[in-house]
Assembly symmetry: C2
Homo-oligomer: 350 residues x 2
């Protein structure tokens, strides 16, 4: 009585093809290493039975998962889409797979995701932001999983980052408004407690004000999740102030759009009455009326660089090297000098 192998395994195929299991494995992984006619016979069989080898066993046996994990804080902001697609393309070309995970701005959820990634022994992790429990970094190191921080730069040099400089970029944006003559500048940004990018942008804003001897008014900063309707509400509040701002720096384009439409709805002209500057340079900022001035973030470039670094780390053991990426202020139609009456009013208060 012939022992019948379980269908859908290499063993089973090997028996059908009259070769050993090793030959099947080789046919699948390194076709050149088997004789052409053997190969053909086996591939025909594989085709006919629609055989898909068990990747779990393969990954486990070869000790290579071929997967890079990417953790983004949200997928609703399309700026991460460009970033993700760049990474995906690079990895695919290198024969690696991308596992996209959404941490939803939750440290708790991110922790679980990182743990899962370690469990599945991914060969690299791309993180967003640096601010997290140091234990997580230790864990990644403990399991020799290369990682890289993106979208912000850690003050600790031991944490490799491939990113632009949030502080510098926000400094530039705020300074631009100051140089246009604005003295009453609002900031709408993300929730700094859970978002180090937002925190750095806020810090930059404060420091610029201080440098130009403009007093900091807590009422002019609004920290909110990146949802357009929330930003719209915040803008309404801001513009209903006794002395509304003449400029709003939004640390995110989504928020800037909320601010733009809300100002217009409240009959403020942009940029004549209020200037607005965003952050990210989403495609929509070019289409909106007036087109939005913003800070261009080279998301694709950052993605490419991060992916390349991890490919080298995973395949050649080259440690990830930090790298800074340049941003650029894009002046479009939503920024200008403050209105004259405000300038007059502020010099001769009523």
């Amino acid at each position: 009585m012939k022992k019948t192998e379980k269908p859908g395994t290499l063993h089973w195929l090997a028996r059908k093809a009259g070769v050993s299991i090793a030959t099947i494995s080789r046919t699948l992984r390194r076709p050149d290493s088997v004789a052409p006619q053997t190969r053909q016979r086996i591939l025909a069989l594989v085709e006919r039975h629609r055989f898909v080898p068990d990747g779990r066993a393969s990954t486990f046996s070869s000790n290579r998962s071929g997967v890079i994990g990417l953790i983004v804080p949200t997928i609703s902001n399309s700026i991460y889409a460009e970033f993700t697609e760049a990474i995906q393309n690079r990895l695919q070309a290198a024969g690696l797979n991308l596992l996209i995970a959404n941490a939803n701005y939750s440290a708790e959820l991110e922790r679980e995701i990182i743990r899962k990634l370690i469990e599945s022994r991914v060969e690299g992790v791309i993180l967003t932001g640096y601010d997290r429990d140091p234990g997580l970094y230790q864990l990644l190191r403990r399991y020799k999983i290369p990682f890289v921080v993106t979208w912000s730069i850690s003050p600790k040099p031991s944490i490799p980052a491939i990113s632009f400089d949030n502080y510098a970029a926000a400094t530039e944006a705020t300074e631009l408004l100051v140089k246009l003559g604005h003295r009453r500048i609002a900031l709408i940004c993300g929730v700094t407690a859970i978002n180090d990018r937002a925190a750095q942008r806020l810090a930059a804003y404060r420091d610029v004000l201080r440098r130009y001897k403009i007093s900091f008014d807590r009422a002019l900063v609004a920290e909110h999740p990146f949802e357009i309707e929330i930003s719209a509400d915040a803008t309404t509040r801001l513009m209903s102030l006794q002395k509304p701002p003449t400029a709003i720096f939004c640390a995110n384009d989504i928020q800037a759009l909320g601010a733009l439409f809300t100002c217009q709805r409240l009959q403020f002209r942009v940029p004549d009455d209020v200037s607005i500057i965003g952050f990210d340079d989403l495609p929509i900022t070019r289409v909106v009326i007036p087109p939005l001035s913003t800070v261009h973030i080279p998301a694709a470039q950052m993605g490419n660089a991060a992916a390349d670094a991890l490919i080298d780390a995973a395949r050649k053991g080259i440690p990830v090297k930090s790298r800074k990426i340049d941003t650029e202020i894009i002046m479009r139609g939503s920024t200008g000098a403050p209105p004259a009456r405000v300038r007059i009013r502020s010099s001769s208060p009523s």
Copy 2:
């Protein structure tokens, strides 16, 4: 000479704790099944060494990957974000993990992704759209992987779909424009060759025109990728026609936004000169001026239902049952009757 186990394995921990490997495994998987003091001792050890078990071995040995795959055609459109997050929440509650993959509107890439998912023996797959090589469905069935189609309904009842009805929704939207008095209605939609949702919406548009005896003008339909700038260009072309449309149905909110701003830029008033209706009901449609009329898609509800169905399929073997989800037209400020002069002109042509 004591045989030393490889660190970072259950064996190694077992030796350290002076128990068997089975006890370690049980402590990790079903803590209740081991004595409290044993458990404590082991957990302390696990904690101290930051031990993370090898999920590949676990998945492989237990024959359960605990993963559901989700394939979306793009991640730039935030409508998929809501969908994805709903799925993620449901799966997490059920102890399953979500693997998000982006097929980038490429059948080729999608095929590779599906293959990878089968290789890793995921316990379910959520697909977007039904239109793909039938071999892929066969493959999923062959490997007994439950799947469900979302965002559109297959004409073949053998393919389970949890979705709204694109044809019905687009019919409603087009009909609404007709009933407002429009006769010259443009359609901006996705590329129907690679997007069955776009194809169904186009079909609905044509059928409504036919039903109301409005001649179909090829020049009034624009098929384009869902990028706002491309849609803006298409709108420019449309509105520069000898006889520009008095209404534009955009089968996607992104495109509708491009159309809206472009019309305004060209000095057409919305809705006085042109009506615009979108599709998806993104949050931004409520904020824009005028707020955009659109078709509300219950993305979260669809995600919940799809996730629940796959959870039941994976865990209890319940076959996925098709289900239709309702959409709703949301009338906001971007739709109205056609302008009077057009109505006059059309009744007494020059």
